[in-house]
Symmetry: D2
Subunit: 146 residues, 4 copies
Amino acid sequence: MAKGKEMSVKMSVEELQAFLVEHFPQMNDNFVVVDVSHNAATMRMVINESNLRAGNTVNGPAMFSAADVAFYVALMAMIGPKALAVTTNCSIDFLRKPKAGCDLIAKARILKLGRVLAVGDVMIYSEGQDDPVARAGLTYSILPAR
Amino acid sequence: MAKGKEMSVKMSVEELQAFLVEHFPQMNDNFVVVDVSHNAATMRMVINESNLRAGNTVNGPAMFSAADVAFYVALMAMIGPKALAVTTNCSIDFLRKPKAGCDLIAKARILKLGRVLAVGDVMIYSEGQDDPVARAGLTYSILPAR
Amino acid sequence: MAKGKEMSVKMSVEELQAFLVEHFPQMNDNFVVVDVSHNAATMRMVINESNLRAGNTVNGPAMFSAADVAFYVALMAMIGPKALAVTTNCSIDFLRKPKAGCDLIAKARILKLGRVLAVGDVMIYSEGQDDPVARAGLTYSILPAR
Amino acid sequence: MAKGKEMSVKMSVEELQAFLVEHFPQMNDNFVVVDVSHNAATMRMVINESNLRAGNTVNGPAMFSAADVAFYVALMAMIGPKALAVTTNCSIDFLRKPKAGCDLIAKARILKLGRVLAVGDVMIYSEGQDDPVARAGLTYSILPAR
């Protein structure tokens, strides 16, 4: 690994949170940026009634959102807020029923950050549990700066 | 194909719609069962403000939901309402920006219906457009009847 | 669909076969280009001892190859032999045991052909069987012409 | 993590290697079991001429094989040689060109080991390199013991 990689993070936790609130106001209250570092981000997804499905468990689209947003935040931190990036593929495995009444913690890492593509994966946990509830591989397409 | 396969559909469009309303009341107004046949189902996802994201386009989780629900409905039609089935994997490719103000049409087909697993894919379109906006491959785990 | 789309195929079946032989001599005897049309190609994979695994069935890597080569041929037909394209993602579902002693038939279609990415899927059959043995979704990255 | 998990490994490195040689003689010389532990295995894939493609790099099917075999070995170590397991899905991201003349190292981990399904992922490296060349998510179906 090259020295000084930590320096390449272009946005702080606070800047990333403000960016989410500005660009995705509808997810304002749900997603909290917990931590960001070189090629990695951790998000908290606050679970409320609208994410629950029959059986009182977190639904699939909510877990998909957690994976997608966590990877997006990790990517924005590396390429900065002027870039545009869109999901091109997500392959998600649902492993266990999330624990009811628990927030989700999503840990994203970027495995490749190219000029036009970023690829990585995300592990999703019910807060306080050791075993993941889902795992996703994601590919984002990076577009010319706006 | 064996003769008489159409007879194996165990639930009608009306029964499937009622099943969704009963078990997933929160998606009541969004998902309409359009058509069902042997190993196949077509759903309409009514798009409203809550599914839209920046740029006025349908968001990724909404497209994931459309794929997941369409395949679930195709599967319920084949195995009947007493069975339980949960998504174990979804690999979704986002192909084009959905057209703003258009409902999504999701066409699911089951490629394998085994004793414990069902596998298939879903094509998602903005209504009235020829080119798909997304394509998903899904695996469902089938659990013993409740 | 726009008129005249068939005209956009840039390579014939014969040219594609010669291209494979030249660039991938090691797969010379295994892959036969059967048909090519706008955004689609059909390949035959000749099955021999080296593709078989325990139980006398075609192995997974052979089915992966069939999917990958079929999509590559469909893509080359559209973008021409001067372009470079590499697989970035393949999500493959194994549905049924291929029939022993049967060649594989792989039918690829391109769902999106962009400037830097091509996305599509492939259905794989044991020759003469109705039900697919595998289904794959693929993404290729298109590189500047050599 | 519960105590004593290491005790649940049912096969040693030597037993796993012998199992591969017996059941998959055609891959005899290519795959070496390097290490096995609770829910994890590391394999070496020896690269020779037959795995190389144009540009002198390891081809996609070889990387698919490395992922598939590494996860299979991790699974066999946990469930024992009397069980049968077959790949039902593999979603593989190709991240970088493998280094020519280098063996591949595949590190598999099981994220969920259920009664009928096992799910996990594999990271693949060119030996001696920090950055992965590929990452795969895999699902195996576990069948009743033979």
